[in-house]
Symmetry: C2
Amino acid sequence: MRLRRLQAGLLIAMGLLALPALADTPKATPTAKELIAKSKPAEWRTPDPKNLLYMQLPQGRVVIELAPDFTPLHAANIRTLVHEKYFDGLAIIRVQDNFVTQWGDPNDDDNGDKSKIKPLGSAKHTLPPEYTRSIDPKQAWTPLPDGDVYAPQVGFSEGFPAARDPASGREWLVHCYGMVGVARDADPDSGNGSSLYVAIGEAPRQIDRNLAIAGRVIEGMQYLSGLPRGTGPLGFYTQASQRVPILSVKLAADLPPAQREKLEVLRTDSGTFAALIEAKRNRRDSFYTLPAGKIGLCNIDVPVRTASSATAGH
Amino acid sequence: MRLRRLQAGLLIAMGLLALPALADTPKATPTAKELIAKSKPAEWRTPDPKNLLYMQLPQGRVVIELAPDFTPLHAANIRTLVHEKYFDGLAIIRVQDNFVTQWGDPNDDDNGDKSKIKPLGSAKHTLPPEYTRSIDPKQAWTPLPDGDVYAPQVGFSEGFPAARDPASGREWLVHCYGMVGVARDADPDSGNGSSLYVAIGEAPRQIDRNLAIAGRVIEGMQYLSGLPRGTGPLGFYTQASQRVPILSVKLAADLPPAQREKLEVLRTDSGTFAALIEAKRNRRDSFYTLPAGKIGLCNIDVPVRTASSATAGH
């Protein structure tokens, strides 16, 4: 009973349960499920298959949407690596609690066998950092008016959480949960996409603008976050047997259409997305009696669903 | 190489690596390890054994520090439950990605066998909510001046992240990563500590002041965060075999001193803690070239170490 009602409250909060109208709370906040059920088809976008990576792990498939509008050179290099099967047979090498899960070549590490490092093929070894880009009025931008500790302005740009500094005229992607970044050497141009990480805890905002962000996990995040933490320094796995093998990474565009995931992402400039944000900002129902009144950028999920389905999958 | 330097940078960021002075960055921010190495013994506190729970899982031990200054009735009820071995043999029943891990009685749920619900013994079935407390000038309070999206003021109170609203005169614990909350029914007084949850993703700040917070995980958090996510609604495990059994929960005070963990927590009103916050807020070294300039409340770890050790363990 105790758990059931926590469940119910959280179901409401997470938008997974459509409750009938509550007699005692006639103005109960609509649930995410209710809001999404009323969304229009045009409010959803189908990510470009050229921007979708399918990373196959033994546990299941992780789908990553690249962000070439922010990091075009990194997206291009990652596509090259994928085309040449660079990631196939590599591994998840590190899971540091409340920080990142990282994958790449286990031999390209202090304790690795340098003679066995996998060559990058025709991919570039260095890239310009692409930590920020110029603000351009032509860019889609949905501001979040709730404020932010780290940046003058935050909001969403084409499905990704982002920040802006009007003083410098720069915009950048933010390290929210599920965002995928590019590991690098000390030199800012030393990242090339051959080793990537994903944020799995409290958004590590203090590293924003110090590392390039390649995209976001839009499906299968639980396979990256729910792994045993590595016991070595920084969460590196100390034994090869602990690493999770990457069976393959493919680009959706390289597969026949019938083999592609039918995923849709809610447009962040849509009315339904605005309504979802407001429902989370000021939730009031039979369980939550005190609305927060505000919502943080990284507390907002961008819904993802399987096409032709009326329910959110994320 | 690429990974090694990311490692080095992150080692610096996480305070796990003491680098020699870098010739090219003479003003490199001190590392957390360096700052902690210079701390004084009086800057550390030994949590009261009456406030420490040892939750033994097959994977290892989780140590939770209760917060009786904020939730005294919940702390007392949880101690009663522990004394009477209520939790022994129960289980982790739910892991919802980017939200919470929850434990309690699997039968006290919609799909459970109601006839097998474990009785609460002499513990109370309902408690006043204890979501907030009055601000009192006598309380220790270390303000964080960086701002916050959700609360007028944030800071630390005796090792716990907290928020204040001077207008209402209230103070409350904040749902940062690792904070332990009290599951409840829809009625605000229906939480009793027999089912608890811990935040495992982006701090779910929108539920602050809607649920009582009982304390914080100070050791073994990785055993709660690194579990496979449940595949049922809200991350509930759908099969009994997926649940992680709780072997026992004991109060440190009930054990002979020799069997107690020798843990110390850095005082949040200490100079070293202030220096650690500043080092994270404005980190600049060979890896991080652009300091954030700000730090969020839930991006700050309160260090925990084993007594007589010079290194931080958290």
